[in-house]
Symmetry: C2
Subunit: 146 residues, 2 copies
DNA sequence: CTTCATGCAAAACATTTGCAGCTGG
DNA sequence: CCAGCTGCAAATGTTTTGCATGAAG
């Protein structure tokens, strides 16, 4: 799980199975999303892809990211201010810790949330299909910098 | 807690203490945020306020909402697509359940998240100061409508 | 070959900002 | 009064869309 190369292959297989073309631009975006743990923005991905394909347009990155999101191959994290961030490494719901200073996002290993999900279902009658848990705080690095 | 009139008074007191003026427009916005459980958007608030003050501008609503957010009197819920939603009724972190069909948001009563927060602090060294927990699903009403 | 993807530019939104004039305390 | 609001309009930042050209399979 979360083996970068395995993820890459999974994502490519999904694209091929659904008859989407593997273009050089798509391959570049998929690689970045499968391998990075930085939870990049679309802009971040764009800058990376441009190194190899300078004529790539931002719209193409958006389109590819949307496609992967629809295929369930990446997780989208939206925030009130600033742009969305994406995780192709672990495309299933999992908690995040976000540093409010440097905006770094990491994935902590936490106890299961299943009991809480069950509790929600029992108490509300909602059919729960997804969740999101974020902690906001200050990372050790930023604590040291005062 | 979550008594609408008490919340309204708390919010007005905070504004007065910090020497902000209570204008008719602000009062209207604060009333809506203190009393509604619908987690309204800025646009929702704007429509409501215009009923009483037709010349109100959207910018004023945005400014008032930002001010209340800075004062810690409302909770801001951002989403990848669509606009932010606000909760003035319970301005402290608490879980939400969001219907992905009708976009209704309710507040379930759940077990405490403190143990999870402690676990995060212990495992990551982050100084946690806030969190957000959302469940996404289909509400009983929408389940019935197929 | 033919269909689908790309790249460009324009559009669509949500939100913020600058500023002249108004008004709450 | 007069500092601080309001309302307008213009600016910003992100994401989406339309369409002609180009390339994957």
């Amino acid at each position: 799980m979360a083996d970068p190369d395995a993820r890459l292959q999974q994502m490519l297989t999904k694209l091929r199975d659904r008859k989407f073309r593997i273009t050089p631009q798509r391959l570049a975006v998929v690689k970045i999303l499968a391998q990075s743990k930085e939870h990049p923005t679309v802009e971040n991905i764009y800058e990376q892809v441009k190194k190899d394909f300078p004529t790539t347009s931002l719209a193409t990155i958006y389109k590819t990211v949307s496609l992967l999101k629809e295929l369930g191959e990446i997780l989208e994290l939206g925030f009130p201010e600033g742009s969305n961030r994406y995780d192709g490494n672990k495309p299933y719901p999992h908690p995040h810790i976000i540093c409010i200073r440097c905006k770094k996002i990491i994935d902590p290993d936490l106890m299961e949330l299943q009991p809480l999900t069950d509790e929600v279902t029992r108490k509300t009658g909602y059919k729960i299909i997804d969740h999101r848990l974020d902690f906001f705080g200050i990372c050790p690095d930023c604590q040291q910098k005062g």
